[in-house]
């Protein structure tokens, strides 16, 4: 009898344990799924590196605290860029600061969920986070972020040290809410070997117009070379649209990007597709570009390491334009933000600013990861001058950064329709109207 009872109890325990194990497993599984979505995230620079995101996000490196403690630093760098970031942080920690920096990398989507939750609960709030610049306006409005202006005086950080455009985008509601780490633009890659053969000197003035694309395209097509690749349509739309002065919302609230300018951008795509100047649906133009079968291929500057690995003779230029006078590249920026936390004293906040300043002054490593650092000191580094993205460091108005509060809604709605326009299943008007409607409806639901 007793034996039976013991066995029963034992089995119940085993079952409990095995069930608990099942419960523990499920978050992992869903995490794997989430990794796949990441390309849809706002300006995620590490879009190409999401493959090993799963492992990186699990890691919780611990550094020995400095004399006064540690700074908890959350970033979205889970791929190869995470290694570069860690190297920079290690360099900082090697200077024996009062507060050593503990780096925690996680999926961008996770960070944008965990950061607000931590701030609201007031527990385990990170001391400094990396946010994509598009995220900052909404977080600021929701009251999650601390105004840097309270601390800039007496700190080495000042607007003069940073790319003006990247700095200006986080000037919000009379305060300053982000210090830029970098600017990362979506630019144009040109296969120089193919260009020699088919280019007809159209890049001589350093900028490619859509008319020029059309003028050289037939020669390429005749030799089964694709003139131009069209992928990641969201940023292509946003780049051209911004070049022509378009905005997602005129008053900063109501979306109104269903207008003539936007239609003109999309009409141009339809023409390219109809003429057979771009890839067939289902093909990945970047893979074809790396295989040397595409002459012009717009992509993010952070993808340059792919080109290097493929041994391709390619250069980076500004994104194609309608009019040679209106250059413009869709750009995002990784920004250091200060999450609100009543338990962080001023001394620690000052230490955080020192850390941010150090990162700005020692950003060559970040440039090697394919980014364009936002701190001016990088322009003095000889090694950086030879990098293909160096020209972006001098650009200002050409960097088209969107600061629409509801950018997230707008780009999500654009993502579902832009492909349909390119492949001729929706007219530009239909697509833009649907996208604007969707954005409006979501705004209404969230207010």
């Amino acid at each position: 009898m007793k034996l039976k009872k013991i066995t029963a109890l034992g089995m119940a325990l085993v079952m409990a344990a095995s069930l608990a194990a099942c419960g523990g497993k499920s978050p992992d599984a869903s995490g794997g799924g989430a990794a796949a979505n990441d390309t849809s995230d706002a300006g995620d620079a590490s879009a190409g590196d999401t493959a090993d995101a799963g492992d990186a996000s699990e890691e919780q490196p611990q550094v020995a605290p400095g004399a006064k403690g540690t700074i908890e630093f959350w970033t979205v760098f889970t791929g190869a860029d995470g290694t570069s970031m860690q190297a920079m942080i290690d360099a900082y920690n090697a200077t024996n600061p009062d507060y050593t920096v503990n780096h925690r990398a996680m999926e961008a989507n996770d960070l944008y969920l965990k950061m607000p939750l931590a701030i609201q609960s007031g527990e385990d709030v990170p001391d400094v986070c990396i946010n994509h610049v598009e995220r900052v306006p909404l977080f600021q409005e929701q009251g999650f972020l601390v105004d840097y202006n309270n601390y800039l005086e007496g700190s080495a950080i000042s607007s003069a040290n940073y790319n003006p455009k990247a700095w200006e985008m986080t000037e919000l509601a009379g305060g300053h809410y982000g210090i830029p780490l970098d600017v990362h633009s979506y630019a144009l890659y040109v296969n120089m070997d193919l260009y020699e053969k088919y280019g007809n000197g159209v890049m001589d003035d350093g900028v490619l117009t859509w008319d020029e694309v059309n003028s050289v395209a037939d020669a390429c097509v005749a030799d089964e070379i694709m003139p131009i690749g069209m992928a990641w349509l969201r940023v292509k739309f946003l780049a051209s649209y911004a070049q022509m002065g378009g905005t997602l919302s005129t008053d900063g609230n109501t979306p109104d990007f269903n207008n003539e300018t936007a239609i003109q951008v999309l009409d141009n795509w339809v023409k390219l597709r109809e003429a057979g100047y771009t890839q067939k649906e289902g093909d990945d133009p970047w893979q074809l570009f790396l295989a040397g079968k595409v002459m012009f291929c717009p992509e993010g500057i952070w993808m340059y390491n792919n080109v290097k690995e493929a041994g391709l003779n390619a250069k980076i230029f500004d994104y194609p334009v309608f009019d040679a006078g209106t250059k413009g590249n869709w750009t995002s920026s990784h920004q250091f933000v200060l999450p609100k936390n009543d338990n962080r004293d001023d001394e620690k906040t000052k230490a955080v600013l020192d850390f941010i300043d150090f990162m700005g002054n020692n950003s060559l490593e970040w440039a090697k990861a394919g980014q364009c650092p936002a701190h001016v000191s990088i322009k003095e580094v000889a090694e950086f001058k030879d990098m293909p993205q160096a020209f972006l460091a001098d650009e200002n108005e050409e960097l088209k950064i969107y600061d629409y509060k509801y950018y997230g809604y707008a780009v999500e709605s654009l993502d579902t329709v832009l492909g349909e326009v390119l492949w001729g299943r929706m007219t530009p008007e239909e697509a833009l109207n649907q996208a604007v409607q969707e954005t409006k409806d979501k705004i209404e639901m969230s207010e």
Binding site: A12, M15, Y406, T416, E420, W423
Partner: protein, 301 residues
């Protein structure tokens, strides 16, 4: 007399307690991770909520939008998502029953290497949906993929219908084959051989044996797998997300993708509306399952 019966009933009560020990862990986890979140989700569906602030009660407004406001994006998304989900269930579930059942019957004939085959068929089930879809993405890639290369076709597998659905369904079938298969194999091996032999002696054909002996004998596992398959396919998400991204023209955009985007998208969360949609989906799945259970019970009587 009373003493004896009292002692008996005490013993009985003691015995009755033991089963609860067995179900207690599961019940507890069920409560914490399923029942409470479920009720909270239903509550959230009557609110406007961004996941961070406190939910703001709006009554039936979310449901009214989904069901009546034809102008609204949410109306369009809900009905389009539901339609696509139902289409997927209708295409996928019959194959998900028939293919494993056929294989199970073949395996039941005890061919050489039966266990190896069973292992091979079961293996994909062990992989995560991410790696399964990646495999099939490579196979169906338009210009670099195995399929088009092998057969000299130029099919745009993810971007055109009906290929987009075919790709999703094939991936799902390959992934989920093993689960139903082992249930059928087990059920088939439980059938009393003597009945089959007797039927054969009486001159029953293979098909007759299948309809009149095999199917009735495995009726219970069969119904179970049908219900489970339908429930799991109603919850389809990963395959269309990774393979087609919902295209072409949102024709493979399933309901859970919309729900997920609303609740955990790039912008501020629209969790109230997302909860309303998932409550509807949950109700639908519940109704379908209950209907099937009733049907099964009636046949039994």
């Amino acid at each position: 007399m009373t003493k004896v019966s009292a002692a008996k009933s005490a013993a009985k009560r003691k015995k009755q307690l033991v089963p609860y020990f067995f179900i207690a862990p599961h019940l507890l986890l069920f409560l914490i991770f399923f029942l409470i979140p479920m009720f909270y989700g239903i509550y959230a569906s009557f609110t406007k909520w961004d996941l961070f602030g406190s939910p703001q009660w709006v009554g039936l407004k979310n449901y009214a939008t989904i069901f009546t406001n034809q102008e609204s994006t949410f109306y369009r998304q809900f009905w389009n998502g539901l339609k696509n989900t139902v289409i997927f269930v209708l295409i996928c579930v019959p194959f998900q029953i028939l293919i494993p059942l056929t294989i199970a019957i073949l395996l039941d004939k005890r061919p050489k290497g039966r266990n190896i085959f069973q292992g091979i068929f079961y293996m994909p089930t062990l992989f995560s949906i991410t790696s399964v879809t990646l495999t099939w993405l490579f196979i169906f890639n338009r210009s670099l993929g195995l399929f088009n290369h092998l057969f000299g076709t130029d099919v745009n597998w993810y971007g055109e219908q009906p290929y987009a659905w075919m790709t999703i369904v094939i991936t799902t079938l390959w992934w989920g084959l093993g689960g139903n298969l082992i249930i059928y194999v087990a059920a088939l091996s439980g059938i009393d051989r003597s009945i089959l032999e007797a039927a054969a002696l009486d001159g029953a054909s293979g098909l007759k044996k299948f309809w009149h002996i095999i199917i009735p004998s495995i009726k219970f596992p069969l119904t179970y797998t049908i219900i489970i398959s339908i429930i799991s396919q109603f919850n389809i998400y990963g395959q269309p997300l990774m393979i087609t991204g919902g295209g072409p023209n949102e024709s493979t955009y399933v309901l859970l993708m919309y729900i997920r985007n609303l609740a955990f998208g790039t912008g501020k969360s629209v969790a109230g509306m997302a909860s309303a949609m998932s409550t509807c989906l949950g109700l639908l799945i519940g109704v379908v399952s209950v209907f099937q259970l009733i049907l099964m019970n009636r046949k039994e009587d």
